[in-house]
């Protein structure tokens, strides 16, 4: 269908002259292609190239080609599985919290009068506009030992809750910020559902739960795909709250995720000898994981159907 439309819009294109035939479409995809080349393909190639060298502070001037040695180092790390599991745990749990909370907030705040809904949503945006360091300071304050910490006071058990329950704190801290993103997208999507559908559901005698299940959620499939995919990828590479809250501890890699591990190896060293090559190898693997996960999402959410032509003409 699409091809036919293009062909009919460019009537002078003759078969056998591919340059003209594809000229206009190429022109249209060119800006995006250039951006993807500049900000994805070239960095990926550079990273993969770097990952085959022993580049570090010491060898910064004359890095040597070491082939797969960095990958070997990575795969022989006894903590590798732990760090990968940590990453999966972090991404999955935070994502569930994020998307679930965002959806709940969107549903609740759109089912009350608009001015109340707007205020609630504005409140939820507050953590997002706070600098991460300040936001984490608030968490540190709340989770201190009694009599300084709110959590200790409420629970009646005096602990430093970041050390005692590092994962819970990390997921809550991340999820509460992340939820506002889903909330905004879902709200606008719910607003865009034609009112007729709700009237029709009401006429058919659907309960609120049924309306949400049969009308709202199916219409939100696209935004849910977008939010889930986007959040998964950004969570895979995000680590600033973990760095600020636990630095990947306590103990041996308890809360270290892949991206944090790469940062600590590749970009952070008090004594200056930083392993850029090893860090690049880790980043390279992260790219592979990211691409695989994205493809999986497109498959699960049936992307082709989502961007297919509508079966019903809605005006």
């Amino acid at each position: 269908m699409v091809r036919k439309a293009v062909a009919s819009e460019v009537p002078r294109a003759r078969p056998g002259r591919p340059r003209r035939r594809y000229g206009v479409p190429l022109l249209f995809v060119a800006p995006a292609t250039v951006l993807i080349l500049l900000f994805f393909i070239i960095p990926v190639i550079t990273t993969l190239g770097l990952s085959g060298t022993d580049l570090s502070t010491i060898t910064f001037r004359q890095p040597k080609w070491v082939g797969m040695q960095n990958y070997e180092t990575l795969f022989t790390d006894p903590f590798l599985s732990k760090i990968l599991l940590n990453t999966a745990r972090y991404v999955l749990l935070t994502l569930l919290f994020n998307v679930g909370m965002g959806l709940t907030l969107a549903l609740l705040s759109t089912s009350v009068p608009t001015r109340f809904g707007n205020q609630v949503r504005a409140l939820w945006l507050l953590p997002r506009i706070l600098p991460s360091v300040v936001y984490v300071l608030i968490w540190q304050g709340m989770t201190r030992e009694a009599p300084f910490g709110l959590v200790s006071d409420v629970l009646g058990v005096s602990r430093n809750w970041i050390t005692a329950e590092p994962w819970t704190v990390i997921i809550l801290a991340n999820g509460l910020v992340g939820a506002s993103f889903g909330m905004l997208i879902f709200t606008s999507a719910i607003r865009a559902i034609p009112g007729d559908l709700f009237y029709a559901a009401a006429v058919d005698g659907a309960t609120t739960a049924q309306t949400v299940r049969r009308v709202v959620l199916p219409m939100l499939r696209w935004p849910i795909l977008f939010v889930t995919a986007y959040q998964t990828l950004s969570l895979l590479t995000s680590f600033e709250y973990i760095l600020l809250l636990t630095q990947g501890g306590p103990g041996f890699y308890t809360t270290t995720v892949w991206a944090l591990h790469a940062y600590q190896l590749a970009l952070s060293s008090y004594f200056g000898n930083v392993q850029f090559g090893l860090g690049a190898a880790m980043a390279g693997l992260l790219v592979v994981i990211g691409v695989v996960v994205s493809l999986l999402y497109l498959r699960v959410f049936n992307f082709r159907e989502l961007v297919g032509e509508p079966k019903v003409e809605v005006n």
Binding site: I58, P250, G272
Partner: protein, 450 residues
């Protein structure tokens, strides 16, 4: 008339511009990159600027035909960012700094990378350097060469709360004798533990506040490992060392402390406020700190209670104890240093500028302003500051971090072991094995596990 004058002024001006100046002055820009990151250490940069003014006067007197101008910055963000910026700076032919200040422990990485030059041939040219406390030069050496000029130093004492010891029944004489007993090996880590346990049991301090150490990673953990008899560097082979027996002693001591209620299980909580607050509230019996923290407590924590006077009345300090009776007491210093870069086009002038920076008045200005210890013998004698005078003897017990480019990996592994042991994640013995395998994996053939 006016016109005539104008023409005259114009002609004179033209001649003045066209004539070569009586003494051609070449202005050389010396770029100095420095870091605190604590604000009070700003004289690490300002002293270089002052030194340049003095050097310029001498250069003018010598008719050297050159004047210098210092450009650069004092960084107050953090080490990671500063070190990355410096690394990129080293590479830039146009913007490379001439002088970089950093901890002496970065010397191995920078020297191996070829970013800095050895200063052995320059140092004898300037008498100013003769006044530097001799042991500090050891910290500047790596592979037999001297790579930097000392900038400041500090010591890391074991502090104790005198008021709490009194409540525990100690007499004034006993308290006054404690620093001496710590120094001569009569009061050991086990005595620290026993005293702290006693204090917790008698409710003189709350549980967990018998002994405090820093809440985040840092060089201090190396010092404590050493005080338990650990060796971290093998001078003969130039390799790092992990001594499993000593590490086990240290971890066992920490774990015992947690189990007996002397040390908090969550002591490593990344929160410096939770370190300073209970200490300056007078609730902690023993703690390991740094001499520079004295200035912080004075200005930020006890200023309303009477400042330094309150500190002198309540806090005592000595070197860190040994682990056996009669053993060696210890503290550790991490001197800051000025490096001259390989990319500098004016190395001679840069070193001369550093010689003008290494003088007693500037040294004293920085030491007093930031509660670091002076690096010059003259300053140490002259400076009129009770605390600095009081703690300078600690330098007799001081040690430095070993010169090795993989020191960071060593430190990180040992620190993770402390964290895992204290939080009860693993037993001390398991932690030692984990640390040993970690250093072998990350430092490979550059570490000896014994």
């Amino acid at each position: 008339m006016t016109r005539k004058w104008l023409v005259l002024v114009w002609v004179i001006g033209l001649i003045a511009v066209m004539l070569p100046p009586a003494q051609a002055q070449r202005v050389v820009v010396i770029k100095a990159w420095t870091i605190g990151p604590d604000n009070p250490s700003v004289n690490r940069f300002n002293n270089v600027v002052t030194a340049a003014e003095r050097l310029n006067k001498d250069l003018a007197r010598e008719n050297a035909g050159v004047q210098i101008k210092v450009e650069g910055f004092f960084d107050t963000t953090n080490w990671d960012q500063f070190l990355r910026r410096v690394l990129l700076g080293f590479q830039s032919p146009a913007d490379a700094p001439d002088i970089v200040q950093g901890t002496h422990a970065v010397a191995p990485a920078w020297a191996d990378g070829g970013f800095i030059i050895a200063l052995d041939s320059y140092i004898p040219r300037y008498t100013q350097f003769n006044d530097v406390v001799p042991s500090l030069w050891n910290a500047m050496r790596y592979k037999g060469k001297t790579w930097a000029i000392p900038q400041d130093t500090e010591a890391r004492p074991l502090y104790f709360n005198k008021a709490l010891l009194k409540q525990l029944g100690w007499t004034d004489q006993q308290i006054a004798a404690l620093p001496g007993r710590l120094a001569n090996g009569d009061f050991t880590w086990d005595d620290v533990m026993a005293t702290a346990r006693d204090a917790v049991q008698k409710k003189v301090v709350e549980a967990g506040k018998g002994y405090y150490h820093r809440p985040v990673s840092g060089p201090d953990f190396l010092q404590w490992y050493r005080s338990f008899g650990g060796r971290d560097f093998d001078a003969a082979t130039g390799k790092l060392v992990i001594n499993k027996a000593a590490l086990l002693r240290y971890y066992t001591w920490l774990r015992t402390g947690v189990e007996q209620g002397v040390i908090e299980r969550d002591r490593l909580n990344n929160d410096w406020n939770r370190f300073h607050q209970p200490i300056t509230d007078g609730k902690v019996l023993f703690w390991s700190g740094g001499t520079w923290q004295w200035a912080e407590w004075d200005r930020e924590w006890v200023s309303r209670k009477g400042g330094e006077e309150w500190l002198f009345a309540n806090f005592g300090y000595g070197p860190h104890p040994a682990h056996v009776k009669g053993g060696k007491a210890i503290t550790m210093s991490q001197p800051q240093a000025y490096f001259v870069t390989a990319a500098s086009k004016n190395k001679d002038l840069a070193v001369r500028l550093l010689a003008y920076t290494t003088v007693p008045d500037l040294d004293a200005k920085h030491a007093v302003g930031s509660a670091h210890l002076p690096i010059l013998r003259t300053t140490a004698r002259q400076v009129n500051h009770k605390f600095l005078k009081d703690v300078s003897y600690l330098l007799n017990y001081t040690s430095f971090q070993p010169p090795h480019p993989s020191l960071a990996e060593w430190q990180v592994a040992v620190y993770r072991g402390v964290s895992a042991t204290e939080s009860g994640q693993v037993t001390p013995a398991q932690a030692v094995d984990l640390v040993a395998s970690e250093v072998q994996r990350t430092i490979r053939d550059q570490v000896i596990v014994e």
